[in-house]
């Protein structure tokens, strides 16, 4: 138990940026748009969150700023993918390169600068529960928001009309169109919201987690999130599990090193990736055998309204 609590705490702490990015990408992909620009959007989100927090002194404005920056990037991506019907993979990769470069140029003045950032805020009563309390309820408020977002999305996808429209757009845009849903508008909207959530993940790193800006500070977490969407089979709750698993494995291997054990760290670090491959294999093997997976059927395909099948 003594070792478990710090590992769980660290898992939640370091899993949260990945969780936000994964949730954002799930929202985007549910509508049928693939956005591989997570790394770049997270970086610009981290930059915007830091810059706004620094200049206004209010970390929440920073988070809001990051969300707006994410929305703008989502708008660009949907313009290319929905209106111009361009290649979604290429647009996403371009978004990553753009975000990486732009954030390092813009962020130059913020290197070595410190901010107050979001403080830890233990929730009364809940934080006193053994194990669960310290692991989940002694963090900053942005982490609590992510719990809310997971629950909200689970409910939204399955139990609301808007959620159904979103899934219809991603699974069968032609049917959605026949239902009177505007495929283009739906895809625009959720791609922007999704990218906004991804950017908040970046902002969590710069505003709450490390309270600093450094070039390339997301260090590949955007790509981990892309893999986690598949690992989670497009389900928000499994995304949370996957994100905390990633965070937990890292926290665990660092603590193993601190304890002076000799298990080679790289082997442990491989674990979540191996599991992602295993899940992919599983999906591929069981596909079309009556099991419903969350993968949107029309993911990555542009929708031509006037075209016949």
């Amino acid at each position: 138990m003594e070792i478990l609590v710090p590992i769980l705490t660290a898992a939640v702490r370091s899993g949260t940026p990945i969780l936000y990015a994964t949730l954002g990408e799930i929202v985007t992909e549910k509508g049928g748009i693939l956005n591989l620009g997570l790394e770049g959007i997270m970086l610009l989100g981290a930059y915007a969150g830091f810059a706004v927090s620094y200049s206004t002194g209010n970390p929440w404005l920073g988070v809001a700023g990051a969300f707006c920056v994410g929305m703008i990037l989502g708008l660009v991506h949907s313009f290319i993918c929905v209106t111009l019907k361009g290649n979604q993979v290429v647009s996403g990769l371009a978004m990553t390169m753009f975000g990486t470069g732009a954030s390092s140029i813009l962020g130059r003045d913020y290197v070595g600068v410190t901010i107050e950032g979001l403080h830890r805020f233990p929730i009364p009563l809940l934080s006193d529960i053994p194990v669960v309390g310290p692991a989940f309820f002694r963090h900053d408020a942005l982490i609590y928001c992510s719990y809310g977002l997971v629950v909200f999305l689970c409910w939204f996808f399955t139990s609301t009309r808007q959620g159904l429209y979103l899934r219809a757009t991603g699974d069968n845009p032609r049917a959605a169109d026949a239902m009177g849903i505007s495929v283009a508008r739906t895809r625009y909207f959720y791609t922007m919201i999704g990218a906004g959530i991804v950017a908040v993940g970046g902002a969590h790193m710069s505003v709450a987690y490390t309270k600093m800006w450094a070039e390339h500070m997301t260090a590949g977490r955007g790509w981990i999130a892309v893999a986690l969407v598949i690992f989670a089979i497009w389900h928000p709750a499994r995304a949370a599990f996957g994100a905390y698993l990633f965070g937990g494995v890292e926290a665990f291997q660092l603590r193993l090193q601190a304890a002076g054990t000799t298990i080679p760290a790289p082997i442990l670090m491989m674990l979540p990736y191996l599991m992602t491959i295993a899940v992919l294999l599983f999906i591929s093997i069981r596909k079309g055998k009556g099991i419903i997976f969350g993968a949107p059927a029309a993911l990555g395909l542009p929708f031509f309204r006037e075209e016949r099948d």
Partner: protein, 361 residues
């Protein structure tokens, strides 16, 4: 990988530097237009930031010299292109500040024999190409003395980037300092396998703090370790430059670079016509490495100890890896009365006594 280079230095480097080259004819200050090519942005707060500081110091000393710089140039053929552009624009001296530029500098140096090239941290040279680097391990040793004196429970943590000789040498010299000040203290190392990942650096620092260390040290690119130390209330030794902004009350000191002295010296020699290619590896004596200002909690007795040890190194009476040096298992690697050679230091792949942690094989 800019720092990765030192691991290769050993074999070739010091076998090649035997060749003596003739001095260059003097170049008037107004015609030198030295060009600086940086691997990172000047605002990285670490490596490139310190080089840029050195360039500005050089300009201050030689107001007639107008230098130019280009930042964020990758270790690829782009670098060669940048060197040639600078030369066409009138640069007579080029400084390349990362190991990975080595072959591109050599290539361009052969093409332009009347231009002087200075390469940071490499081992290849030419009649118009020299190298420069610093004995950072000496400053690390001094910072280890401070850490060893400031620990109360004799447990010190070290966040290391990659298990390569440069970092290992840093950990070893730091630990030699710690043990000199406090023979009972031990240094626990965590590898993060990344130069720049602030979240991971912070998580590693937290893991060390959870395991009970009360002083932290680090070899990575950001101030995340000092930040974690400040939040948890443990002391910290930074690196590269003064990191006290991240740990205003807990920052003890930091081993830091001073590139300005090499830049000033080189330009001075070029003007005087005494420049010839050399392999510069300056230390505390020349002032190329040193310590950042002490934190307020460092007592005078510790500062005195640092000064005494520094004097021993500067006078040449003793150096960090003079024998006896034992490794982790207690085996004597360097017997009393002898010292490690530069080549041995540059290829170091074992931990000295007092380090806890494994070297990945």
């Amino acid at each position: 990988m800019r720092r990765f280079g030192w691991l290769l230095v050993l074999v070739l480097g010091f076998t090649m530097c035997g060749a003596a080259y003739a001095a260059f004819p003097p170049i008037p200050a107004e015609e030198i237009n030295p060009g600086f090519v940086y691997i990172g942005p000047i605002g990285d707060g670490g490596w490139t930031f310190m080089h840029e500081k050195g360039r500005l110091e050089m300009e201050e000393k030689y107001p007639g010299v107008k230098s130019v710089f280009v930042e964020s140039i990758p270790e690829s053929h782009d670098a060669a292109r940048v060197f040639e552009t600078m030369i066409r624009n009138g640069s007579k001296v080029i400084f390349g500040t990362t190991f990975g530029y080595m072959d591109f500098i050599l290539e361009v140096a052969n093409k332009y024999p009347d231009v002087i090239f200075m390469h940071c941290s490499g081992y290849k040279d030419a009649p118009n190409m020299g190298t420069y680097f610093g004995r950072m391990y000496q400053a690390r040793y001094l910072s280890g003395l401070v850490a060893g004196k400031m620990t109360k429970n004799n447990k010190i943590g070290f966040v290391g980037a990659h298990p390569i000789p440069e970092v290992i040498r840093g950990i070893n010299s730091f630990t030699r300092g710690v043990r000199r000040a406090n023979p009972d203290a031990e240094v626990q190392v965590i590898w993060i396998f990344s130069w720049l990942d602030p979240a991971k650096e912070k998580e590693a620092a937290k893991a060390l703090i959870d395991s009970g260390v009360d002083v932290l040290a680090m070899h990575a690119d950001t101030g995340a370790t000092p930040q974690a130390a400040e939040e948890a209330g443990v002391y910290v030794v930074g690196y590269n430059n003064d990191m006290s902004a991240y740990a205003p009350t807990k920052h003890l000191t930091a081993p830091i670079w001073d590139w300005g002295m090499v830049y000033k010296e080189t330009i001075g020699q070029v003007i005087d016509g005494t420049w010839a290619p050399k392999h510069i590896w300056y230390g505390l004596k020349e002032g190329m490495v040193g310590l950042a200002p002490y934190g307020k909690d460092v007592p005078d007795s510790v500062k005195e100890l640092v000064e005494e040890e520094k004097a021993r190194i500067v006078s040449g009476e003793w150096d960090v890896f003079y024998g006896p040096v034992k490794d982790q298992s207690g085996e004597v690697r360097v017997p009393e009365g002898s010292a490690m050679t530069d080549a041995e230091m540059l290829s170091m792949n074992w931990f000295v006594e007092g380090v806890k942690g494994e070297l990945p094989q």
